[in-house]
């Protein structure tokens, strides 16, 4: 499996002897094996040159850049290995047909509600009483069939997510207060974890979409906007409960991340470098976790599930085969 590498130090990334080398500010040299790299996640301040860019391009390695505040600031992607005019045409056709677009939008919401419900049920079985939330989520899923357009489907997803987020304060230990989703910038520890986690999910989905001939800017649930990969937002929606939220609960409840790992400034609260390191490390371990896949009859990693989602969507668009969104089955 191809790996993500995270660069937290400040310094210079360069091509050296046919691999990538980081020279930190105090002159330390660290090598990373380019042959098994999927993407570089750059969290520190680094310099690089065009020689490195062409080199990463040759090896199909993406560079995702993270900045301050709302974290994800962009990706430098290798030139497309996969191009297919036919896929793009079909992708746009499905967007342009209101029925088909709504059908896909509903699938993304349905999958996302299912995955939220799995988390709620898990904690419902562990000493919390979330029966009413489970019910709300089930109602939302029922209402989804009545949504007449994408805006309504989006509204159902917002209602579901609000109900889902209401369990956070009950699950999280003392010291961590959530009180609802806030971003740009996040206003407290929990929101900053959600922002950071979701941006990692998003960047990984961007990589996954890149492996197919799909265009990341043509989406169904989210409105295709300017300057963003809205198809990655659609797909990321399915995986946030599995990848981000469960990880937050685990890290915080086990005391692996404490409130000391955050820096609070006027109206904003952000993870410190060591906090981001702890989180990214646990996130990478999660991506490597595997699960037996009922159709493929073999074990696949969570990271591979992201890629499968892009393949499934592409197959649906090209062949009309039913698209079933990722719903946690274990």
């Amino acid at each position: 499996m191809d790996r993500n590498y995270h660069v937290f130090s400040d310094g210079r990334l360069e091509r050296n002897n046919d691999t990538v080398r980081l020279v930190t500010e105090d002159g330390e040299k660290k090598y990373l094996p380019v042959e098994n790299a999927e993407a570089l996640f750059v969290h520190g301040q680094v310099d690089y040159n065009t020689r490195l860019m062409s080199f990463l391009d040759d090896h199909g390695v993406a560079m995702h850049v993270f900045g301050w505040g709302d974290y994800y600031s962009g990706s430098i992607m290798p030139k497309r290995g996969q191009t297919s005019g036919q896929t793009l045409v079909e992708q746009v056709r499905a967007y342009d047909d209101p029925e088909r677009r709504l059908g896909l939008a509903r699938k993304f919401v349905a999958g996302s509600i299912h995955n939220m419900r799995t988390n709620v049920k898990y904690y419902d079985n562990r000493g919390h009483d979330f029966a009413s939330i489970v019910e709300t989520l089930e109602d939302c899923r029922g209402n989804l069939d009545e949504a007449d357009d994408v805006d309504e489907a989006m509204g159902v997803e917002a209602t579901a997510r609000r109900a889902y987020y209401s369990i956070f304060d009950a699950i999280l230990p003392e010291g961590f207060v959530f009180g609802g989703r806030q971003y740009n910038p996040p206003n407290n520890e929990v929101n900053s974890l959600i922002s950071f986690g979701n941006s990692l999910v998003y960047a990984n989905v961007v990589s996954a979409i890149r492996a197919t001939a799909l265009d990341p800017a043509v989406s169904y649930l989210h409105e295709p906007g300017e300057r963003r990969y809205s198809l990655a937002l659609d797909i990321a929606e399915l995986f946030k409960p599995l990848l981000t939220d469960r990880l937050i609960f685990r890290l915080v409840n086990r005391g692996q991340l404490s409130t000391d790992e955050f820096e609070t400034e006027l109206n904003s609260c952000l993870l410190t470098e060591s906090g981001r390191k702890t989180f990214s490390k646990a996130f990478e371990e999660t991506l490597e976790e595997t699960v037996e896949h009922p159709n493929l009859k073999r074990k696949v990693s969570y990271q591979y599930l992201l890629r499968l989602e892009a393949y499934k969507l592409k197959k649906h668009l090209l062949t009309g085969e039913n698209y079933e969104p990722f719903e946690r089955w274990w």
């Binding site: 590498y5 002897n17 660290k30 094996p33």
Partner: protein
């Protein structure tokens, strides 16, 4: 995927050849020792390249396990593979 440990013993002025080559695939853990996960295909590339790099009286040894989990690995002192994905 296979987990491999590669050790080599070559003339002192030629070690950089193997060092530079193996860095593309594996983690450098000690002088003349590399380890890490590789695909079957990459392993073959590594074997062929190492074979062609060697001169008489030099050798490299590759230890293979089908998964890192099967390897009972104890480290004393600092572990150079710790955080190898976090630079």
């Amino acid at each position: 995927m296979v987990y491999v440990v590669v050790v080599y013993d070559v003339q002192a002025d030629r070690t950089h050849l193997l060092l530079n080559f193996l860095r593309q695939y594996l983690t450098h853990v000690q002088n003349s020792v590399f380890e890490g996960d590789v695909t079957e295909g990459d392993l073959e590339t590594i074997e062929n390249r190492l074979d062609s790099l060697l001169e008489p009286d030099e050798s490299t040894i590759i230890y293979e396990v089908s998964s890192e989990k099967l390897l009972d690995r104890s480290v004393f002192g600092e572990d150079p593979t710790e955080d190898r994905r976090f630079l």
